[in-house]
């Protein structure tokens, strides 16, 4: 059951990820990305990381991509016209990069299979909370300060000069 769901979700995730890049309509791109993130969330849930799954949907699919969609609609981005004739070497370069990415992916999968299984870790909210406020407190706080700095930086950048 779990395996069947995984393959289904993985297929949906890959197809929607391709659609997120390849479709000519920007709104469809954003929506495909939503589907991709949703299927990643289901994968998290299958791994027992239920908090991560919920956070993934809540933060990415529910909030950030709504803003993406908001911007795309507000700017009224038109559907992209046909790209026309491709440049020389473009196809070759694309194929070479694809081969490189496939090799990298294979290496990652091999490394994962070689590593020892992580054991029955349950990514419940409680386990995660204990880790974030105990073992990884410094890193957690550091990242939050970093995000705050980025936020303040963005505000400074867009501030009009008087």
């Amino acid at each position: 059951m779990g395996t069947a769901v995984f393959y289904l979700v993985a297929a949906v995730g890959v197809v929607s990820a391709i659609a997120a890049m390849a479709h000519r309509n920007p709104v469809v791109n954003v929506l495909s990305l939503v589907v991709t993130l949703f299927s990643i969330a289901v994968s998290y849930a299958l791994l027992g990381a239920e908090f991560l799954a919920a956070a993934q949907i809540l933060v990415y699919a529910g909030a950030i991509l709504v803003l993406f969609l908001f911007v795309v609609m507000l700017l009224g981005a038109p559907a992209e016209p046909d790209a026309g004739e491709s440049r020389p070497f473009q196809r070759t370069a694309g194929l070479a990069l694809a081969a490189l990415a496939a090799a990298g992916g294979a290496a990652v999968v091999a490394a994962i299979h070689a590593a020892a299984p992580a054991g029955a870790l349950r990514g419940t909210a409680q386990a995660l909370g204990v880790m974030l406020t105990g073992e990884y407190l410094f890193a957690f706080e550091f990242i939050s300060v970093l995000l705050l700095a980025a936020l303040v930086g963005a505000l400074v950048l867009v501030k009009r000069k008087h």
């Binding site: 956070a55 809540l58 699919a61 529910g62």
Partner: protein
């Protein structure tokens, strides 16, 4: 602009509205056995550890239905309705989540059954039921207001403001697709009321429930939940016919300058009260 998205929008709305109710406990099965199995608490998905987070996560997807409807209708009024709605939902989601956080801190669990269990039974000063609304009245008010905004009900229904946008995001919809939007709006109302009851008003618990068990407890808990739920549904209707619609800038000001600081204040208060031992 796109027929597929036009048809997808009401489907998203209804699906999301149907998916949210499953984590809300609506009665006490207690130790009743049916066909040899213990009934337990009445809830659709009891083992969902993330409980409230599921509700917030799936609920946050509901905005896609409205935004897509607004965009795919290829109509200025619809688009404006959809855009307003997306900005509004994101603004009020923050305050809502912060208000929920206070309850979760006091309960120590994401599971709504635990949230309800903590509110039942004991009394403060022998007469006040131990509902979260008593220590967290600010959080409760913020949550109720935010939930009104999240369900797109008056005075926050700027997504369909008849006087300016004809009917907002669903101008171009008719027949069953239109009905699907209305259905999801009313289902969201029920879920929102159930959530208010569960988080702040003790869920299915009621004063003096320690004296009952088995089938009488089941019936009375369902009744208790139903009466509270009906009260908040009535509140939705009452507010709708009492208050005029906000202007858009007022809506944003209320969300960011009013509710968000209040929700943060509530969070600080709960933290202080828990540290000092005022809230168990």
């Amino acid at each position: 602009m796109s027929r597929g998205l036009y048809l997808l929008a009401p489907m998203i709305s209804v699906t999301v509205a149907l998916m949210t109710f499953i984590v809300i406990p609506f009665g006490a099965g207690g130790d009743i056995t049916i066909f040899g199995a213990r009934l337990g608490g009445l809830i659709v998905a009891p083992d969902l550890g993330v409980g409230v987070l599921w509700l917030l996560a799936v609920g946050s997807l509901g905005v896609y239905g409205i935004v897509l409807a607004g965009w795919s209708s290829n109509n200025k009024y619809s688009l404006l309705g959809g855009l307003r709605s997306s900005a509004q939902l994101i603004s009020y989601e923050l305050s809502m989540t912060l208000a929920v956080l206070g309850v979760l801190m006091a309960s120590g669990s994401l599971n709504l059954e635990q949230v309800v269990a903590r509110q039942g039974g004991q009394f403060w000063l022998g007469a006040i039921p131990q509902w979260n609304v008593v220590p967290q009245i600010i959080g409760c008010v913020v949550f109720v207001v935010a939930v009104f905004a999240e369900t797109n009900r008056l005075p926050f229904d700027l997504a369909e403001a008849e006087t300016e946008l004809v009917a907002g995001y669903h101008v171009e919809y008719s027949s069953m697709k239109f009905a699907a939007f209305l259905m999801s709006e009313y289902m969201n109302m029920v879920t929102a009321s159930a959530l208010i009851v569960t988080l702040f008003f003790g869920g299915w618990t009621f004063p003096g429930m320690g004296r009952f068990s088995g089938w009488p407890l089941l019936v009375l808990s369902l009744l208790s939940f139903g009466i509270k739920l009906a009260f908040f549904l009535w509140l939705f209707v009452w507010v709708r016919w009492s208050l005029p619609r906000f202007r858009y800038d007022q809506l944003m000001r209320l969300g960011w300058k009013g509710l968000l600081p209040l929700a943060t204040l509530n969070l600080v208060w709960v933290g202080v009260a828990m540290t000092m031992g005022w809230i168990r």
